[in-house]
Symmetry: C2
Subunit: 580 residues, 2 copies
Amino acid sequence: MKEKEALKKLIDTAAGRIPADVVIKNCKVVNVFSGEITEGDIAISGTQIAGIGEYEGEQVIDAQGRYAAPGFIDSHIHIESSYVSPEEIGRLLVPHGGTTIMADPHEIVNVCGIQGLDYMMEAAKRTVLDIKYELPSCVPATPFEHAGAVIDAPEMEEPITREGIAGMGEFMNFPGVIAADDGTLEKLLVAKRAGKFIDGHGPGIVGKDLNAYAAAGILGDHECSTVEEMKERLDRGMYILLRQGSACHNLSTLIKGMTPMNSRRCLLCSDDRQPKTILHEGHLDNHLRICVEEGVEPITAIRMATLNAAECFGLKDRGAIAPGYRADIVLLDDLKAFHVNRVLAAGELVAEEGNYLPEIDFYDISSVKGSVIVKDFSSDKLKMHLKSNQVNVIGILPGGVVTEKTTAEIQLDDQGEFVRDPEVDIVKVAVVERHQGTGNVACGFLKGYGIKEGAVALSIAHDSHNIIVVGVSDEEMEFAVNSLIAQEGGIVLVKDGKVIESMPMPIAGLMSDQSGEWVDEKLTAIHEKAYAELGICGDVEPVMTLCFMSLAVIPEVKLTDMGLFDVTTFSFIPVEIESK
Amino acid sequence: MKEKEALKKLIDTAAGRIPADVVIKNCKVVNVFSGEITEGDIAISGTQIAGIGEYEGEQVIDAQGRYAAPGFIDSHIHIESSYVSPEEIGRLLVPHGGTTIMADPHEIVNVCGIQGLDYMMEAAKRTVLDIKYELPSCVPATPFEHAGAVIDAPEMEEPITREGIAGMGEFMNFPGVIAADDGTLEKLLVAKRAGKFIDGHGPGIVGKDLNAYAAAGILGDHECSTVEEMKERLDRGMYILLRQGSACHNLSTLIKGMTPMNSRRCLLCSDDRQPKTILHEGHLDNHLRICVEEGVEPITAIRMATLNAAECFGLKDRGAIAPGYRADIVLLDDLKAFHVNRVLAAGELVAEEGNYLPEIDFYDISSVKGSVIVKDFSSDKLKMHLKSNQVNVIGILPGGVVTEKTTAEIQLDDQGEFVRDPEVDIVKVAVVERHQGTGNVACGFLKGYGIKEGAVALSIAHDSHNIIVVGVSDEEMEFAVNSLIAQEGGIVLVKDGKVIESMPMPIAGLMSDQSGEWVDEKLTAIHEKAYAELGICGDVEPVMTLCFMSLAVIPEVKLTDMGLFDVTTFSFIPVEIESK
């Protein structure tokens, strides 16, 4: 009955028989269908736009000649990578015009399983940002590590049908798709049977392998880094998500591959976006700025962040300012700097000049706290008992997440333990399993991090999020791990047996329960002290670099809780090189 | 299990591990995503395209350098208007590249109710043309006539959920939508709750009324006749179906309103397409020819008939030649005349050089036969007992379906019955109710038809499809109606008490069970005899003109089984004009 009344009210408003709930006057309406600007009032009834024309309303918003664009849609983001809660990401993104995000919560699901998804979905109800979740498809990312959950096809069957689950998240196991392995086929079919999309992640796939990946029904890809990759995917019917995140900056490169013929298949996404980036550069407003700087016509750019995304993901109710559409509206000062003046979400004024207006009532985090469960950890677990001083070493390549597989001759004591040479930038790195109480600890060597004092430990280590620790001595490393356990995860920097900086992340050991500003300040302090007090190399991002040292799907060599893993051969390798 | 095997086979084929079922070699692939032509083999696995590249297959089709385009999608058509069965429309359209049609069976549902829909759906299974039905939204079209069924919201609830029902058909009752009347809201909600689209029909609606129509969730409109109308609808988020049918030729006019920014919201449709048009001009191949003649870039034109339509109607499995898409492929000699060489539907070669290849096993029509049910008809029912010789007259305006409301002074005999003056082109017209046995017969006068001998009777009279009859005397009219009843509907021409030509239409009195060629021959003979033997005006289409004389939603004045109806005032008016 309520449904019918709302529809009647919407039509009555559109027809001008009753005043609108809200009318935005004096604005230039960005029409993403025609590519033109229309002058007119925007009449809103409840959560929807009733019409554009001459209207009166109960509440009048004077746009003072500004542009009105549809609310922006981020086509692919991991909230966890912002280190804040869903409620807080809403507070950060909405003032930049973001009203919908397609979020793959695969970090928290790797830690907490479906309970992590449940938390994310409940928390999402506490923000006016419309968070459309994707069900993580690859938990764990590889069989070569222990995560907090294993989500195979049977575990996916219930969650995929949920109303708040828009589709299946990025299918990172592209080798499994291309090989058509049985478990992968089962997962794909879970999504297909439920009529949900399957998002992609296909770096570097070409030719017939790409045909196979696309044939499986993969919707899009955000991992392109060249125009050639982009074009090959577009040709095969995949949407391209042009990414501009805190770590990866692909937008300026890829935008050159966009043409009038293919532009409607191009979207904008962040993937990962840290509070610093959001606070200082913005969100999709920043993407739009870059697009226009690169020569894209402004309404074409806006369409990438609105209608194109809505069409891609089947969100038929949004992506344009037109009758019947969700009243997600961004008032912009101009179409060049894209300064956001005000934001309406579902008909409600929710942000003004950078401020998020609604009160936030945060959801209880107790279901995802206490996620750092480590069994019998002590410095004994860091002993390596090496017989050879020739070892394989993970070589950091600054500015990326790819590592180099290298070797070194190290010094050993009479117990076969590593003796660090302060003149040589090689230190011990360990991954401590923190989900299942296996007691697993794997050790290896890391080159290029530059640490000269203390230790750094994190509970964010993609994608299984075990603890990763790097330090100049076993004692500092042990202290760092124990301090991290005590604070229930996050980031800790220690020096001389003291915590010199830390950011607790009680939400699954992945996210703070504090504000984005607090996280940014903490991260800034962590970075400063990492460089100034621990001596970490200036060309290395001290936190992010470590986060990816465990990700066994990115070449060349990584360390999981099960050992040193050679991604080029997809097999474990010993740390010691046998003497010839 | 079968599903998984098919997916595995598709991926294995795409990856090149196994040979394709079918491979099309030596073709130029039209890529509707990039707007470019790619050289490559098309590999097909089962019903789907596996990949484009270098492939081998069990069966090889040599395209001999031709273009391969995606199968064409007609965005709006009434099969009944072709006077043939669904199986036969498949045989006619597929050789012209049509592989999917969006069909609104509102003619047969007006006659047979949901049983008519059931028949259409069963018959559709017997053709390789993929017929996506829309559930008729306006049965009957108006409350001012008796149809064979009344389909309100409660009657729609089950059929709308059927898998073969893509959405709700053209919502012709736009005044009801704009007024937000209760019955209309209920119907709209039936579609919305089922997650199905609602197609539109909004001739002449402008401004706030158009906002109201769009706000109600109407998907598109095929009734535009000017670029202004088209642009106003596009701006409001409605798709535009550029129509080129047997009766309405809007394509050349509207194509001028298409721009690079809005082209992806423009589709192609027929609405009504008679066998003659199909046999002599083609189907969407003809639309494409016109588009290119009008200066549209060929791949942009093809996209209107493929990807754009697929996106509009949420047909995610088709509309492009790309991995995972349905293998609906048209081989074209060129991109100018669009001569269709061969057609594949769902991976199967189904047409070659104008010939439809599959055997047709027609569905039993007994459920929709015997639809002409007339109670107590005799020439007595044609008596008018007029007291005034001043009468309202329906004036035919040649070349359209709109009539003119006019008046005339006629001759009456002493019984008050009309005496035809051979020098004056005014004859009697009657509508005989043929569904419910009401015995209703309404009489009026028609000007401009030109008939000089005999009578013409039809059981096709939009949208209720009662019998309409025109003749020079009550006797000829009575004989025509009785002949029509005897042949179970269709078209009959009589002269001097003899049937001089006829086309029986046993399927609901609307469609022949014969071939398109037979229907065309019969229609040609009917036209010839109508002009030569009955003396009907050369500038009037003798059948089509009568078909629309009962359609009480098109101005200015029409005749239903309930009387003379003034569409400008939406009320019945007397035939006699009271003397002042």
